[in-house]
Subunit: 193 residues, 2 copies
């Protein structure tokens, strides 16, 4: 399982054998069955989770009971309530498994210790967060400037795997549109082809 | 001017004399007069700018000509169209000076070279981006869950300097409310005291 993490890290930085040995001591494996929670709103997010296998979602629930999808994470993604993980404040997000999943967890103190013990991990996380900031910026701009159909097309282009794996109602929620609107958009797109 | 940058970096990581000497070779000083542009929408953002003195804003303009404030940056802040800077795509933001400002600029190739030459800068930027991700997450959640008055109060609590220095119409735009709404909120708050 840890080999999935190593390949993901090595896409961004080079690791020595010693680095790999050290890194592996900081992570704990965890399995989640489909629909099982990793984190519930109001709890403290104690771990940053690397998805070695499976699919999870991060979402919050409004006063009316409606779910708002925030992030999907599958093989090679990190998932957490990042604010809660770093600040120790209560989580505002829920995280659960859409598919049964294999995770590697690292605690807050171990995350700090790891970057001191294996300094190249600072570089890895710097690049990871850099990309994450870009994604967030693009999504925010997209939510302002794109129509619902454009949002779907952009998502399908940038994340074809997500469109295939994630149930339609969750994709609609992620795009901030009604499931019926998404069905209509998909029918329109098929007709245009 | 570079000493402002060093103190800011040393709030997060320790620098040796040699680190400081190396770092200083990667930056170029630039002065902006009030209202002068650092970046215009559609250009490529070639530099990451550290604000040593002054105040800038990042914003975009919609089809109707309305400005939407994205970020303010003053002493100790980094400012750029981050997506454009890293990906080389066209900038979607404008950046200009609200006050006359002293900046330190680093180019994209020099940014890469700096992190390889002075590895502790990876750690510095990792912590910087980490904080930035939290701020963005909080702002996004806040924009969904808070009323206009709550948004203003939160901003005033977390950034009293911003409330004092930035013109009222720009703060209204940053909060996504009309200037008249902001005036009404401020009057209400004064009455409550």
């Amino acid at each position: 399982m840890i080999s999935v993490l190593f390949s993901h890290i090595e896409e961004k930085v080079a690791l020595t054998k010693q680095d790999r040995e050290k890194i592996s001591t900081y992570f704990v494996a965890k399995k989640l069955r489909k629909k099982q929670y990793l984190l519930q709103e109001g709890d403290i997010c104690k771990n940053l989770a690397f998805v070695a296998k499976g699919l999870l979602r991060t979402y919050n629930v409004d006063d009316k009971g409606d779910e708002h999808m925030s992030v999907f994470g599958w093989e090679g993604w990190w998932i957490s309530d990042f604010n809660s993980f770093l600040s120790g404040e209560k989580a505002v997000f829920n995280i659960d498994a859409i598919e049964s999943s294999d995770l590697l967890l690292i605690s807050r103190p171990d995350y700090e210790a790891l970057t001191l013990d294996v300094p190249v991990m600072d570089r890895y996380f710097r690049i990871l967060y850099q990309n994450s900031l870009i994604t967030k910026e693009r999504r925010l701009m997209g939510s302002i400037t794109y129509t619902a159909e454009e949002k779907y097309v952009k998502l399908a282009e940038s994340n074809p795997q997500l469109i295939k794996r994630v149930p339609q109602n969750l994709i609609a929620s992620y795009l901030g549109i009604a499931p019926e609107t998404l069905s209509r958009i998909k029918k329109n797109l098929l007709r245009k082809r």
